[in-house]
């Protein structure tokens, strides 16, 4: 089995954060943060394979953090899932504009979240294989 994948999750609500952690920790190594700034620091530190950001957070919200991470060459390729209670289309638009790869609306089903995460990893894997083939 390959090296365990790392996921950074950020949410200011402790129980949501713990639920994310509890959902994902069986399959992945989970790192937590409670706001955007913390999340960026954590990402830069652990260089995860996936980032899950809540939108509404103090200090720096998820969308802003997303933009920062995507602009940064070192972190720009890490897929980001935006997780928010806001279901409005405008927020989803904002989410994609900020460079997010996927969007999950709260409340979420742990199974659905895992599916989504796996889906993203598969895509990343395929993209990597294609790039490897080109290199050959």
């Amino acid at each position: 089995m390959a090296e365990e994948k790392k996921v950074v999750v950020a949410d200011d609500e402790p129980f949501i954060l713990s639920a994310l952690q509890d959902t994902l920790s069986e399959d992945y190594k989970v790192y937590t943060a409670t706001n955007g700034k913390e999340a960026i620091k954590m990402v830069e530190k652990v260089m995860p394979d996936l980032i899950i950001l809540d939108v509404m957070m103090p200090e720096m919200d998820g969308l802003e953090a997303c933009k920062v991470l995507k602009r940064n060459a070192a972190t720009g390729n890490i897929p980001i899932i935006i997780l928010t209670a806001k279901g409005q289309i405008t927020d989803i638009e904002k989410g994609f504009k900020s460079g997010a790869d996927a969007y999950i609306v709260k409340p979420f089903s742990p199974a659905r979240l895992i599916e989504k995460v796996e889906e993203i990893f598969e895509k990343v894997e395929m993209r990597r294989k294609i790039q490897d083939k080109k290199k050959d």
Binding site: E13, A19, E59
Partner: protein, 719 residues
């Protein structure tokens, strides 16, 4: 008028008036003196009798006595005897020759004396002297000087005198005829002037009664009538009534009505023909009942129809010629002319009255309309003035015609200064001026939003611009109504933010509930973990419940149903401690500090609701100090109240938002706040609960340094 110049008929001449006796007497005197004869003229009916022209001494002696004078006058023609005759005078028995002539059928006897009388002797003189007591010698002497004319000469002289008499008579008749003709001319002139007068009167007065009266009076005067009247036809009842009656029975006559065809007036009204009745007693058409009712005796009548545009509307009637004679046919014409003047007068007056009535009615209607308009104007003006929207009107020249109180306020101009001035001079907002122009050109309404600064805040106005379309379909101006929708917009924004927030707030506890319950269902796990998860689910469910409770509270407050208090004796310090206990370990960043007494006196409050207030204030203190810090809870017992304050060291609230933090849905519009979830209803409910307790709440804050919320409760004791 030729009719009137023809020779007079005998019977029409009153010879007593015609014969100029004075002229004849003058001639007679001179003839008698020159010719030495005596002359006297006597009409056969003795109505005309001249003095005897006598220059004889003899005769004058006899006449000098009383008896003689009387006797001399008794010189008379022998009646019944025709032709010339010799008559002896009764006094002296002297013989006179009597010749006769006819003057318009009347016989005039001319006595001429004295004939030669050879038989006259001295005994006769003696007798005379005795009878008249005149000196005999004087008589005899006078008799001798008495010139006696031969019979033949006397007859010749009589012819001459007769001729002269006839000439005088003819001259008299001629003079009389001329006089009569002149009189008729005068009458004609007076008739003409009466007609003129009538036509002048018609144009000078509009009072029909007065007018007809003047016309009829002039008719009476000119025609020398006793009375006159104007009848008009009452077409509804087919009757004639007296419109005007003059003369002695004026009042009585006015109550009488005649049927069509009844009486002379009725006949004339019916046939439309003028009628002259010289003697009504001989005319079967005459209605006697009118005379009977009025105690008047009608003798002669002229009645002519009164026609207006060929339609008979009545009759004009003139009664009884003064002096007992009858009216003449020429007077019919005059009366007809007068009647046509009267008809014009009636028509004019009717027309005038009709016009006047119509004008008056129009005037009245106009007045009413004006009054109504004035009322309507005042009503609209007061409506416009009392409107909470700004109203501004301009005319087609883009000059301000009206603005109400609110418009004065928002544009900061005064109606007194700006009315009549170009709108662009006073309204600096280009959008408004442009819209006005557009509406004037397009002649159709325009709606839109207009934004401009009021004080230092931008206000949003919902504006409606409408053209004022005059009758000619031209735009007479334009009116704008501006409603300040700033607050509504803000409320609207707050509401949608609130909905977002509620949705977020509801989903936030739901997320762990769903996640953990699913994990519990799908994963195998230890009992301890299950307990942990269930504990989280339970907590989050409570949080959800509290939130729903808040929303319900708000909706109750909103619906005006209010919240009910369940008052009980509670020590508020006890509540502070209980809430503090639930919070003190909830955050690692915050330090809760209590500055409260051990205990306080119990007051009547709703325990759960005050717990709700405290919980809300503490959770806000935590929430809005994301960087942590001290949260100080202070209690103070002061006078009739207890004061409880919660102080944090968080982000604080800018001054301009302080007074709004208790408004529902209101959330301070700053980036720092936006990142903190909240519904904007917590403080609204807090304030409401405290007001229910007759308490209150206030806030002090400085941006970046934290906030202090102080609330108080009255110390209500149980009864």
């Amino acid at each position: 008028m030729a009719e009137e110049t023809k020779p007079l008929k005998k019977e029409e001449i009153d010879y007593t008036k015609v014969f100029n006796i004075k002229v004849w007497e003058g001639i007679q005197y001179k003839l008698a003196k020159v010719l030495g004869v005596t002359i006297k003229v006597i009409s056969e009916d003795n109505k005309i009798e001249t003095d005897e022209s006598n220059f004889h001494e003899f005769c004058s002696l006899i006449r000098g006595t009383e008896k003689g004078a009387a006797s001399c006058k008794e010189l008379r023609v022998v009646e019944g005897q025709t032709g010339a005759q010799f008559i002896k005078c009764k006094s002296a028995g002297l013989t006179h020759y009597c010749a006769s002539t006819y003057f318009y059928g009347k016989k005039f006897n001319i006595l001429i004396g004295i004939k030669d009388d050879p038989d006259y002797d001295k005994s006769a003189i003696q007798q005379i002297s005795r009878d008249f007591k005149v000196d005999r010698e004087k008589l005899e002497k006078a008799y001798k000087s008495l010139s006696q004319v031969s019979e033949e000469k006397l007859i010749n002289l009589a012819d001459l005198i007769l001729d002269l008499f006839n000439i005088v008579v003819e001259l008299s008749v001629q003079e009389f005829t001329t006089h009569l003709a002149n009189k008729e001319k005068e009458e004609e002139i007076s008739k003409m002037s009466a007609l003129m007068e009538a036509s002048i009167v018609i144009n000078s007065t509009r009072n029909l009664q007065q007018l007809l009266r003047i016309i009829m009076q002039s008719a009476e005067r000119v025609m020398q009538a006793e009375a006159s009247s104007v009848f008009l036809i009452d077409s509804e009842r087919n009757e004639l009534y007296f419109e005007i009656a003059t003369g002695p029975k004026e009042r009585e006559v006015r109550e009488i009505r005649l049927k069509m065809g009844e009486g002379i007036a009725g006949w004339v009204a019916y046939t439309g023909e003028s009628l002259l009745v010289p003697d009504v007693s001989k005319d079967p058409r005459f209605a006697r009942r009118v005379d009977a009712q009025t105690h008047y005796i009608t003798k002669s009548v002229i009645c002519v129809p009164l026609k207006v545009r060929n339609q008979i509307i009545g009759v004009v009637q003139v009664l009884n010629k003064i002096g007992g004679t009858s009216f003449s046919k020429t007077e019919i014409k005059f009366l007809e002319a007068l009647a046509s003047q009267a008809a014009i007068a009636i028509e004019n007056t009717n027309l005038y009255e009709h016009l006047e009535e119509r004008a008056e009615q129009l005037n009245k209607e106009l007045k009413e309309v004006n009054i109504n308009l004035a009322i309507e104007k005042r009503r609209i003006e007061s409506m416009v003035q009392s409107m909470q929207d700004a109203v501004l009107a301009i005319d087609k020249d883009k000059k301000i015609t009206m603005l109400n109180r609110i418009a004065e306020k928002i544009f900061n101009i005064y109606a007194g200064d700006s009315t009549g001035k170009p709108v662009s001079e006073y309204i600096k907002n280009k959008e408004i001026v442009d819209k006005f122009n557009m509406v004037l050109v397009e002649k159709s309404s325009a709606v839109g939003e207009v934004k401009f600064m009021l004080g230092n805040k931008e206000h949003i106005f919902a504006a409606v611009f409408a053209p004022i379309i005059s009758e000619g379909k031209e735009a007479a101006g334009s009116v704008a109504v501006l409603r300040d929708v700033t607050d509504i917009k803000e409320l609207d924004k707050m509401k949608s933010e609130f909905l977002n927030m509620v949705s977020h707030e509801l989903r936030t506890p739901l997320t762990p509930i769903q996640a953990y319950s699913e994990l519990m269902m799908t994963r195998k796990m230890e009992e301890e973990k299950i307990k942990d998860y269930a504990g989280i689910i339970n907590k989050e469910t409570q949080r959800l419940g509290a939130l729903i409770g808040d929303l319900l509270d708000l909706s109750r407050v909103e619906a005006g149903k209010g919240l009910s208090l369940e008052l009980e004796e509670v020590d508020p310090v006890e509540i502070i401690r209980a809430v503090y206990d639930t919070f003190r370990n909830s955050s690692s960043k915050h330090k809760f500090i209590l500055t409260i007494p051990e205990k306080s006196e119990k007051i009547m409050i709703d325990r759960n609701k005050i717990i709700q207030v405290m919980t809300n204030l503490l959770s806000n203190a935590v929430k809005y100090s994301p960087d942590g810090g001290n949260i100080t809870i202070h209690f103070e017992d002061k006078g009739n109240r207890v004061y409880i304050s919660v102080k944090d060291e968080g982000i604080g609230i800018a001054k301009e938002h302080l007074d709004k933090v208790f408004d529902k849905f209101y959330r301070v519009p700053s980036d720092a706040i936006k990142k903190i979830s909240g519904t904007g209803i917590g403080l609204t409910i807090v304030k409401y609960i405290l007001e229910l307790h007759n308490g209150g709440i206030a806030v002090e804050s400085e941006e970046g340094k934290g906030s202090t919320f102080v609330f108080y409760l009255p110390k209500v004791k149980p009864i």
